[in-house]
Symmetry: C2
Subunit: 316 residues, 2 copies
């Protein structure tokens, strides 16, 4: 379900590194060459290119890119080039800082990645920031936000398919009770959402829907100005239906006065190698316009080209 396309015969990492070096040299940067290489290599290949580049030229490829590129295109290329765990650690760290704080990004990283991938993000966070992810999240949040976010980013959910139906029923009832009472920050509600496996939560929420007549996200929709409730709803969507969640992020990023390039870049860079095909389907279904066309209308230049390449426009 990835949209990334990799040529059947790939040039060696050393050759790719050499071509990238050439793209940086001379009068002006050759952005098209950069896109033609990096936007057609998977994470393992990009890692080898970075290694080869560092060995040959004594500089981190990311540093060279940072010097040569600028604005939205730069951010997209940098995020894309990073190893997925490093990239998530970087995004999560940014999300804890004052000026770029964005709790939604934390929910996204904590809930749409696999349990093991989230753990690798935490390892990458140690390596890069000399602190733990949960430490920064806890320090920079408080109250209900902290109560929800810290267990989310610390979770290592069981990822098997086993479902306990009795438990699903009893916990659906608890969730319905707490939501009816507007106790959105109740210990039990948070316990269920932050610790249960995705399969188990799915069963619980299906039972909720069947038994109480409404999907849980409908019951949480009422008050769009309540930031905490929005986060709670995002948590549930990320855990149970990530493609729908990402479609919504893209829709809001594109359909507004002034595109939200940060959100657009983040979703494309983090999902092109995962489930962007599914997200594109959801996008078309919900907006009656294909994602590539929506992107073309809203962006331009190398940034547009890189986005379109990553979402597989060449093959569309």
């Amino acid at each position: 379900m990835a949209t990334l396309t990799v040529p059947e015969v790939v040039t060696s990492p050393a050759e790719d590194a050499e071509q990238l070096r050439k793209a940086f040299q001379g009068w002006g940067t050759n952005e098209a060459l950069i896109i033609s290489i990096l936007a057609h290599r998977n994470a393992a290949q990009r890692k080898l290119i970075r290694q080869s580049y560092a060995e040959t030229y004594g500089e981190d490829l990311l540093k060279s890119l940072d010097k040569e590129l600028s604005s939205d295109f730069e951010r997209l290329v940098l995020l894309w080039t990073l190893d997925p765990a490093e990239r998530d650690a970087f995004l999560a760290n940014e999300a804890t800082k004052m000026l770029t704080s964005n709790n939604l990004v934390l929910v996204e990283v904590a809930c749409t990645r696999s349990s093991l991938d989230l753990f690798m993000v935490r390892q990458a966070y140690h390596a890069r920031f000399k602190k733990s992810l949960e430490e920064d999240v806890a320090y920079h949040t408080s109250g209900d936000f902290r109560k929800l976010l810290v267990p989310l980013v610390s979770s290592f959910r069981y990822d098997g398919d086993e479902v306990n139906m009795k438990l699903a029923k009893s916990e659906a009832k608890i969730l319905h009770e707490k939501i009816s009472e507007k106790s959105y920050n109740h210990d039990e509600l948070i316990r269920i959402l932050t610790t249960r496996s995705k399969a188990q939560l799915n069963a619980t929420l299906n039972h909720y829907n069947n038994e109480f007549g409404n999907a849980i996200d409908k019951d949480l929709e009422a008050d769009p100005d309540d930031e905490y409730k929005k986060l709670l709803r995002a948590t549930i969507e990320c855990l149970t239906y990530p493609a729908k969640y990402f479609e919504e992020v893209l829709r809001l990023a594109i359909n507004r006065l002034g595109t939200d390039e940060w959100a657009l870049t983040r979703v494309v860079a983090t999902r092109a190698e995962v489930d962007m095909e599914r997200i594109k389907e959801e996008y078309y279904r919900r907006n009656s316009i294909p994602l590539d066309r929506a992107i073309t209308k809203d962006t331009s230049g190398d940034y547009e080209k890189m986005l379109l390449t990553l979402i597989g426009h060449g093959d569309a």
Copy 2:
């Protein structure tokens, strides 16, 4: 600082497995032979023996041991033979169950293991119980206990040596404030204890001691009947001075009417390969009697022999 002794030339895992099989056969079990092998093999070696045993005899070594042995000796041999991460997962699971519930064990596993070891416990928990550790801990606790224990067992603390002295000072002040107000369950106090690295916490608690005249564990000592406060104190000791914590567990297990074999077994099985030498030093300093002598006075038979072997009595 381990007390485990391994012979310089070790027989092959296949030979060890064969000897163990012999020890189980015939009239009566040869406990001395079991001790002479298992109590002198490190975790990696025991793992190979288990593999070899399963391949050769089509049965898990643990199952055979379970059939042949009984009571305290059995529990000690089984716990010891388990892989450390599996063993901790087993102990933690037991600690969440009604009849054997023991929050102290959870604190011990969460706070005296390295960050990576704790993560491996969480992986072993998935594999064995088809659930997550934090899921069971959250489900079986509530209120303040849950509020402290869930982040402890979910933590992946940064394990570098870097210390931020400014932060140590400000957080020592917060801790002192909350403890003075008897707000032992305050969000900030729990945040600090559950997320900071051990090096950082150490600096914070040293500053606490210097600035406010008392070590924090003294300030938490007042009320020995308060289970939550006891747990808080254990958390701090496990994080900053594990040998002292384990000495205390052993002292309480031995110095009472009727030895607490569960605690004695647990500490010996989990620490013989880690820091039992340090724990023995602490024990002697605090009780003026060497640990091996105290154990000899309180236990007997194969159980006693196995304990003494694991704490390195043969070399004492």
